[in-house]
Symmetry: C2
Subunit: 320 residues, 2 copies
Amino acid sequence: MSAFTFSKLVIFGVGLIGGSLARALRERGAAVQGAEVIGVGRNARSVERALELGVIDTAVTLDDDAALAVALAGADIVLIAAPVAQTRTLLERIAPHLDAKTIVTDAGSTKSDVIAAARAVLGERVRQFVPAHPIAGRESSGVEAALPDLYVGRNVVLCPLPENAPDTVACVAAMWQATGAVIGEMSGEQHDHVFASVSHLPHVLSFALVDQILDTPDAELKFSFAAGGFRDFTRIAASSPEMWRDVCLANRSALLAELDGYTEVLAKLRAAIDAGDGVALETVFARSRAARKAWQERGGNHAGAAPGAASAALDAMPDK
Amino acid sequence: MSAFTFSKLVIFGVGLIGGSLARALRERGAAVQGAEVIGVGRNARSVERALELGVIDTAVTLDDDAALAVALAGADIVLIAAPVAQTRTLLERIAPHLDAKTIVTDAGSTKSDVIAAARAVLGERVRQFVPAHPIAGRESSGVEAALPDLYVGRNVVLCPLPENAPDTVACVAAMWQATGAVIGEMSGEQHDHVFASVSHLPHVLSFALVDQILDTPDAELKFSFAAGGFRDFTRIAASSPEMWRDVCLANRSALLAELDGYTEVLAKLRAAIDAGDGVALETVFARSRAARKAWQERGGNHAGAAPGAASAALDAMPDK
């Protein structure tokens, strides 16, 4: 594991993701003597709580250009950890004050749109920008939910650009490794394709089931008899509407492709049910079950496993 | 809560559901002095383990007609707790030995098909049959997974028939209440409609997502980056293929109606994503999120709540 230290870290959006990074780096000894963590928020209220909790040392609001200039001067790392639709605006605020030695990274759930925004705003300075996506989340959000061990044993996907120098990418990798995360690498396009399938689509499908029930006259009766299957399936339907609206729009083409593929699978299953084809149904169900069980046994997202075991299991996985 | 006692209980299919009923009734004092619990299995091996664990007192195999006659003579209650496709066959085995005072009930996930089978096999003796569905399950199955408190605070839906005497229905209700369950009532048709929506459809949707991923060349890459959303959404894709095949076929028409309705919701969301209509998406997501959160706050399926609190929360819910 590479050693990583910083003396000045600037986080745009100090919520669960940004706050957990700050807490993890500090508690794991990555902050040098006198190091400063600066939080930038849309308004004073949004960073005040992070300041009170000691997650950041200095709070700056996005509209305070002078404070932003001071904050960004000599920064080692800038992390953008806000809903993806805000990325371009934030980069526009950052660009005028960006030091040549500062590395910028992000934590967005989509990457192609973020990369396009970075290229448009930063021009050739896009070499300083390493797109990233920590695969961690909790049902709760906001800086109060930030945890120093949120990233332990979790995947962080880097989508390095051809413009990035190897050292620049290595620095961002080392930062995330210092939090206990495991680094994976893929292109932005591949990232968006993979996460459209295993994350974005399931969110849409889960929201859709609740939406369907709500549009029926006996919704209350249905909810009152919903049990464990419904609970698990719809847990992600309690996710942030703003975040998932942004993800759906930002990753539109990959998501539509997955949605169309899924609709075809449903049509296949519908035909089997309609035809009373028990063999076809059982074949699909048995194959899915075997794959789902194998995934869980390989560690799944290592929920429920002991932290030590989880971390060991993930360390044994090859980075991709 | 009505007092319920039995001296002879016969369970066809001693797995999680049947085994938990036996354990609950015994540990909660519903077995009178010298009471007997008889387990009937497809083969000797399937009931042997239940006997070893002390869940049943006597093991009988389905093909042993003489033993079946002895088992059923003078039984208070017969519970059928096997995959729903077996209901008709089991009723055919039971019918020749069914005492006039014995009450038969079941634990099937679908009801219209079970009721049709009972009418066909039992004729006018269908008055002795009270269709029921305990809404309880665990990821593990089999008699080893049986728990005496599986039903505490859980819903059990009764679908009484016009032919049932009120006392007959009350006896089955009292039996389930003795396990700590909360009784709801609806027609078989209504039951199948409600559970097609909140249970059967989500299972199909969850199996379908894993199936879709498996049919892509980068399935392994996708699985290796799947996280908490995928975990929750696909937990039910690890369910029994045989059971869910049976459910899909048994509840075909209600399930197809829900599947078609769901496909329409997906088409609506697809159009919004395609059109970049963030307002429409956020509106759907926000409404779903609010409903899902409200459901959880009302007790959900009371997962994660303290047993006492859960039970109290459910006791406060009106029976339906």
